[in-house]
């Protein structure tokens, strides 16, 4: 019975702590990305530039501290409870346990949360009454010109980032650069989930068989791309195509948008 009571107490305490914790992380700042034309990377007769209307986007990727609040409020997204269909075994593997990032990991509280699946990212954004950005939205936003930049071009900067191995400790959000929309870290920190990451990017139309186009993608895909010199974009599209919804990867996080 003693145990019973102490557990009850612990639970009440836990609820209180949880309530307090909520007030610690302030509401995430969002900025407006002005509408504009998104030029699909793979060009074909039907795959022409589309106009993306203005939307609001999280200023930075979602952090570990922010994600912890979500996990606390949504038990099914705890590491030990999550369904394998929706997140693989790497889900939140860098955290100490279900409900603690870990004191020794204090350095990453304000770093982007990674090792989260597409389903987890979707659920988080929905919980915030937001959505994951579409590929078009993300690419439009990420194309924004950097403010105060020491690199020759954004592509140079991205390629330089690609050549570096992932850092052992992921830096904080806002540690790379800010772009014209006021967004931080669109490149240079992590890869980010998009709503339609599983888009059929390489197909010129709906008549072709899936397998053939994948071969094209790997072999001779250079024919119909928007900018043949944009090697960075190649990598992004290739990366997205290689993902599955339950994958959790140590360099892949997300941010949300509001339409």
């Amino acid at each position: 019975m003693k145990y019973f009571l102490s557990i009850l107490m612990a639970t009440v305490f836990f609820c209180t702590v949880q309530a307090q914790q909520k007030t610690v992380v302030s509401e995430k700042k969002m900025v407006t990305v002005r509408g504009g034309n998104y030029k699909p990377f793979f060009i074909s007769k039907s795959n022409r530039p589309v106009y993306v209307t203005s939307f609001r986007m999280d200023e930075t990727p979602v952090t570990n501290a922010e994600y912890l609040i979500f996990v606390k409020s949504n038990p099914r997204w705890r590491r030990s409870k999550v369904n394998r269909l929706f997140a693989d075994t790497n889900y939140l593997r860098h955290w100490k346990n279900d409900l603690e990032i870990g004191v020794s990991n204090k350095i990453i509280y304000n770093s982007p949360v990674v090792n989260v699946s597409w389903f987890a990212a979707q659920a988080y954004c929905k919980w915030k009454n937001k959505q994951l950005p579409t590929v078009a939205q993300w690419e439009l936003a990420a194309n924004g010109s950097p403010k105060d930049f020491k690199y020759k071009s954004l592509t140079d900067f991205i390629l330089d980032w690609y050549t570096k191995p992932s850092p052992r400790v992921l830096p904080h959000v806002k540690s790379t650069y800010q772009n014209q929309y006021g967004l931080y870290d669109m490149h240079g920190l992590i890869w980010e989930w998009t709503f339609n990451f599983n888009s059929f990017a390489a197909s010129p139309d709906s008549r072709r068989n899936g397998e053939d186009d994948f071969k094209n993608f790997c072999a001779g895909g250079a024919i119909n791309v928007a900018d043949k010199t944009d090697y960075a974009a190649y990598l992004r599209y290739g990366y997205r195509a290689s993902l599955k919804g339950n994958y959790c990867i140590s360099s892949l996080g997300f941010r949300c948008v509001k339409n």
Partner: protein
Amino acid sequence: MKIVIFVFFSIILFGCSDMSSKSAFVGEVARSTSMPVGTVSSESIYQLADTFQTQDNKKITLSYFMGKPTVVGMIFTHCPYACPRLTADIKDIEEKMNSKKGVNYLLVSFDSERDFPEQLKKFANSYGLNQNWTLLHGDENAVRTLSVLLNVQFQKDATGNFSHSNIISVLDKDGVLVFQKEGIDADPAETIGTLKQLLAKR
């Protein structure tokens, strides 16, 4: 006693943490079905809580298909070439299965903006799809989530049509994905073999 404490603890913990939860996205069986929560296998695609509409305007969740093996294809009805062929491939499987009942045949549309029940009904009639077939309309989120679960890639283009992979999936009676065949005009032998095995197990 241990069990009682454990149960009590989980109830309180769950209850307290869940108060602020706004999300009923995945990992939870929709409450609209009569099935008790917990009967769905953890690998089941039927955990998807989203609602779809059938060609007969019935609102359902995917757990509706529970109890029989299900063959699934994703299509859109304005599709000029691939989707009619994928549909024909599944019809061919149905004929070769040589059984009127026992298997669900399911087509889910990519086209949330055009393929409403009425249009799906037209498509079903023009392809002579019988009562073993269900055609589903879902919102953009539901369709995308299902496509991710079924590893089907698709993208809407500027003309409103879709580029997509052509995959026939087989789910067991609990909604667990057990077999997939990619490509049009693919040899149906393995798909049929899988279905027969599933039917034998029941």
